[in-house]
Symmetry: C2
Subunit: 352 residues, 2 copies
Amino acid sequence: MSDTDAPDLPVEPVEPAAASGVPTMFDVARRAGVSHQTVSRVLNDLTGVAASTRLRVEQAIAELSYTPSPAARAMAKRRSGSIGLIQAGRPDYGPSNAALGFNEAAHEAGYTVTQASMRSLDGEVLRQAVHRLALQRVEAIVLISGEREGVGVLTGIDAGVPLIVVASEPTPGLHRVSMDQYGGARIATEHLVGLGHREIRHVAGPVDSMDASERHRGWADAMRTHGLEVHAPIVGDWLAASGDAAGREVLAEGTATAVFVANDQMSLGLLHACHDAGVRVPDDLSVIGFDDIPEAAYFTPALTTVRQDFESLGRDIMATVLDVLRDEPDAPDRTSRVPELVVRGSTAAPTR
Amino acid sequence: MSDTDAPDLPVEPVEPAAASGVPTMFDVARRAGVSHQTVSRVLNDLTGVAASTRLRVEQAIAELSYTPSPAARAMAKRRSGSIGLIQAGRPDYGPSNAALGFNEAAHEAGYTVTQASMRSLDGEVLRQAVHRLALQRVEAIVLISGEREGVGVLTGIDAGVPLIVVASEPTPGLHRVSMDQYGGARIATEHLVGLGHREIRHVAGPVDSMDASERHRGWADAMRTHGLEVHAPIVGDWLAASGDAAGREVLAEGTATAVFVANDQMSLGLLHACHDAGVRVPDDLSVIGFDDIPEAAYFTPALTTVRQDFESLGRDIMATVLDVLRDEPDAPDRTSRVPELVVRGSTAAPTR
DNA sequence: GGGCGGTTCGTTAGCGCTAACGGAACACGA
DNA sequence: TCGTGTTCCGTTAGCGCTAACGAACCGCCC
């Protein structure tokens, strides 16, 4: 049997001992009196293991409180089991809650989430973040940021993995999830029109925001549907300060009886401007916001707004990721979740 | 030369080809005409590589656009290079920004962040999140959540890795980071006292919140310092609704000339209640908040509050993590960052 | 000219898993 | 008795890195 004339040396089977502390699969195998492969089989719930053997292995696992090394597993399986998440820009109510929903859904699906968030919206910084995640061999990269630039940057990148973005406009080459901003804006506008308003201004979000564009479009289309004049919107930056400035502008003009503001924070600023100017809301001016942040109900007056379910959006993102990873041929389009009107005290019929 | 009488078979050196697409260290080595170990040396910036060789390797790396596999590296080095982050509870302004700062600092330090956030504050859910992260072999786990219960849960866990929490009270057995909530509350109270107020109520955060307790303590101590009566605080839950309820209570009582509210959201609710009741702020009642969320400047009236730098807190967390991982003997105590008073329009001298 | 220290590099052996294959043991019918 | 399947399990060979060692080569001094 021996293919050499040298004496058979006592070949020590190289079963690594649990020297470094944490037990390995071999430690479990030795304790259970089986091979490490059988342990692997039990771990991965494969067939071909006798019930009694399975039990012994499970017991050994429990006794050693063994847990498989994710690095070794990732290496052998050639997949990391983790998904990259980039949250760019200010951690506002919307993005934060979407990220949270995504996180929960990802864990439920057995994935790990590797975070690469940043305050900056700069293209170069974003590119680096994508690169960092790609280095980590994440299986997909998710971008939560409504800015058109961010999406543009991703479009030009070949990260080697699927890219999923939250975007309310079509994004060629990328997978997309969003809520129906256009529809929400129409609902808001219809509400004002239904109350009898005919001079309705719009305070929009930043020009680079796709959500802002869609809300603007929804407002404009609704106005046109009713034969009302579509003024140029006043452009803000989502923050309360810009809402305040926009409010002063609207009041200086003095013709509007209602304003559709593209988010709740700017609505707050606008309400502030009204109060300063002695303009009563909703008696002299109706105001409707967008998002329904938790504070909106306690603005003065309580803000009528359009509620978005960001957490569900986050879950939609993960669902889309799974579709993409599984290469589903006809995955459902997850861009039609429609926001819901919440009527409070900041809107009423016009008095003039 | 041959030690066998068999003919020399063409021994194929088992250098794995780039069959699976992504290039490996061996591919780089072959292209550069060196051994894979030399590639590793270049990658890890070790000495003992001739400048010319280093150049050739770097060029090969660039040409193949090779990036090392984190899984293989983690396995060989026996460290994952990632840190677990648990953000429990609502993604409010404070925690979200702290998480963001932490994220940026972690990446600057060369670490990856594995996220395990959840809306729930339940102990069991938290325990599972810690477990999930431990399975991932993260090198440390960070908890951002001011609830005492969360910290308590972590105290009882042996995750096998260092645990770092954001907590404004001492946490035996855990590493701790925080801002000086007590000091901030004293500053707020001193401001009101300085204006001449003597009947100052406190609207506190939930009893399980350490921040709430510290702010309460700071208020109470400041009151005592000035010989003022320390009433029992009204307990809220951080949300605007509870601030509204607290406001009604304060107004019904009718003795207070000022209120120190434990956060800005509840302040908003309280302002709302005042407006409803026809009580003018600050003429009839002064209100001061805590946190300085971006919206606070646009409350009606603009809110006087105490500003906290959450992003820096996040960076402090990462600094502490690094101290712990490096096993620094005398790491600095990062619990003394003092908030800053921001005076706006909601506080004034009492008129009675 | 030989010994000796430094620099530069290659060889080998892991890290802890999974995938692929093979082989032993047993049951069954022809 | 002999195949012929099953069922169960072990053996071997990777996955793509790092760590430890050792060999080759250079120049130097005695």
